[in-house]
Amino acid sequence: MLTGFQSLAISIAVERDDGTLKRLRATPLPAVAYFLGKVGLVLVTAVGQTVLLLALAALAFDVPMPWDMPDGAGRIATFAWVFVLGCATGAVCGVGFSSLPRSGRSVSAVVTPVVLVLQFISGVFFAFFALPSWMQTVASLFPLKWMAQGMRSVFLPEQAVVLEPSGSWQHGATAAVLVAWLVVGLVVGVRTFRWRRRDDG
């Protein structure tokens, strides 16, 4: 899901910087096709990453997989919607964010810290319950915390729910926050998308 954000924000900004977008703009290629291509890229990458990650987890670390659990079907369903919604939100926010860096060279420097800080405060590196509560509050504003929470509900045993600050998996809130970011990202992305560099008129 972060893949979507990071790879799109970076690749679109780089393609804007080196003139790929400008060149495409001069062709009859519809903008929709360009973005569908990017979505395809994100999906393939995200699925590939997830498969590798799960394979490693299952084979090397003996992490129990959802389909081995008693309520496996429900967990897989949860996984599916969190995954799809998370990818979509990440991708759309990435498109929106790509207008921020001024040049292709500064993209990684602008995008990566955002991703790192989000990961840090959203409970990707550390157990979320162990973070200070103000940090939890801040993280709750961003989609990553909710994706992580959704994924915990898929892979952790049912009893782990007591470790959630709210005492539940909050699937409804997760969906709401992700959809909200999806819409915000879409609006921002559409309004700020440029085919050309800023210094190019």
């Binding site: 080196d18 003139g19 400008k22 060149r23 703009r25 001069a26 062709t27 009859p28 290629l29 008129g201």
Partner: protein, 319 residues
């Protein structure tokens, strides 16, 4: 003030709407007026060169015509549509070769051209296009390994693969070696022979003279002259200069009747020979430099002798 093209209509027996029609085009960046009232008309099947020094507004004008930039004022029709609002069907009919390119580095020449061909409704055969731009033996080469000139020819290939009716070439041969430029000119002529209209920007005079049916000279965002390269600047700018040496001093005179002047000089001379006699027609470069206000100061218009020796070496250096 400015030469407009309306007077040229009758000379070209074209029917139908022109490929490009621009009236009173203006564009300002901050406090710099980049384009200050350009009028231009390009007929179908014609090669028109926009010529001018750096910063004269060539690229801005072309990018407005390509639909990349908005304009502040003026009327623009390109293939009958306003580039600002024209859609995909319109882009299918134009080809754009931008000024610089450093994108698409990882694919091979054949991959890139074939991929771009897929964007167009009725593309040319990618293999033929690659051969036409002289990259036939580079098909499998990744674009990042191409030389500057080869890279530029790939840009042209991408610009023409869609079988466009109108091609924009923005300084296409900058950085080419002389051989590559000749080959490129041949390519442009082939395109014209296929009926493609070409709008070219360049700051090479010989390129404009070689290729263009008509040249528009831009200076400070306005067209200061427009016409076939051999008629640019009008008859006055092309009056020949007669130089000779009289009483040990170099003399020069601009005249529309050089033969009469030479006869008169010969009659005046005791032995019928005029020392240091030469009749020089201003080159396109002289005319151009005068048009853009950068004429060398050492060019005497009538009878003066200032800087005659420097002028002479200049003339001798030219073919």
């Amino acid at each position: 003030m400015r030469t407009t093209l309306d007077g040229m209509d009758t000379t070209r027996g074209e029917t139908g709407a022109p490929a490009v029609e621009v009236r009173g085009l203006r564009k300002r960046y901050g406090d710099r007026q980049a384009v200050a009232g350009v009028d231009l008309r390009v007929e179908r099947g014609e090669i028109v060169a926009l010529l001018g020094p750096n910063g004269a507004g060539k690229t801005t004008t072309v990018e407005i015509l390509e639909g990349f930039r908005s304009r502040d004022a003026g009327e623009v029709r390109v293939l009958g549509a306003d580039p600002q609002t024209a859609g995909r069907a319109w882009r299918d009919r134009i080809g754009v070769v931008l000024q610089d390119s450093r994108d698409l580095t990882e694919l091979t020449v054949a991959e890139v051209v074939a991929h771009f061909a897929g964007y167009y409704a009725d593309p040319r055969d990618p293999r033929e296009v690659i051969d036409a731009v002289g990259l036939g033996d580079k098909r499998g080469t990744r674009t990042r390994q191409l030389s500057g000139g080869q890279r530029r020819r790939l840009d042209v290939a991408l610009g023409i693969v869609g079988r466009p009716e109108l091609v924009f070439l923005d300084e296409p041969t900058t950085g080419f070696d002389p051989q590559a430029r000749r080959a490129f000119w041949e390519l442009v002529r082939t395109l014209r022979d296929d009926g493609t209209t070409i709008l070219l920007t360049t700051h090479y005079l010989d390129e404009a003279a070689q290729l263009a049916d008509r040249v528009a000279v831009l200076r400070d965002g306005a067209v200061v002259a427009l016409g076939p390269p051999e008629l640019l600047g009008g008859p006055d700018a092309r009056r020949p200069v007669v130089r000779w040496v009289e009483d040990g001093a170099p003399r020069a005179e601009t005249t529309s009747r050089p033969t009469a002047l030479v006869r008169e000089l010969a009659d005046r001379s005791p032995d019928g020979e005029v020392p240091g006699l030469e009749v020089v027609h201003p080159s396109l470069e002289d005319v151009y430099l005068e048009l853009i206000g950068a004429a060398p100061p050492a060019r005497p218009r009538t009878g003066a002798l200032a800087g005659a020796s420097a002028g002479t070496t200049d003339e001798e250096a030219r073919p």
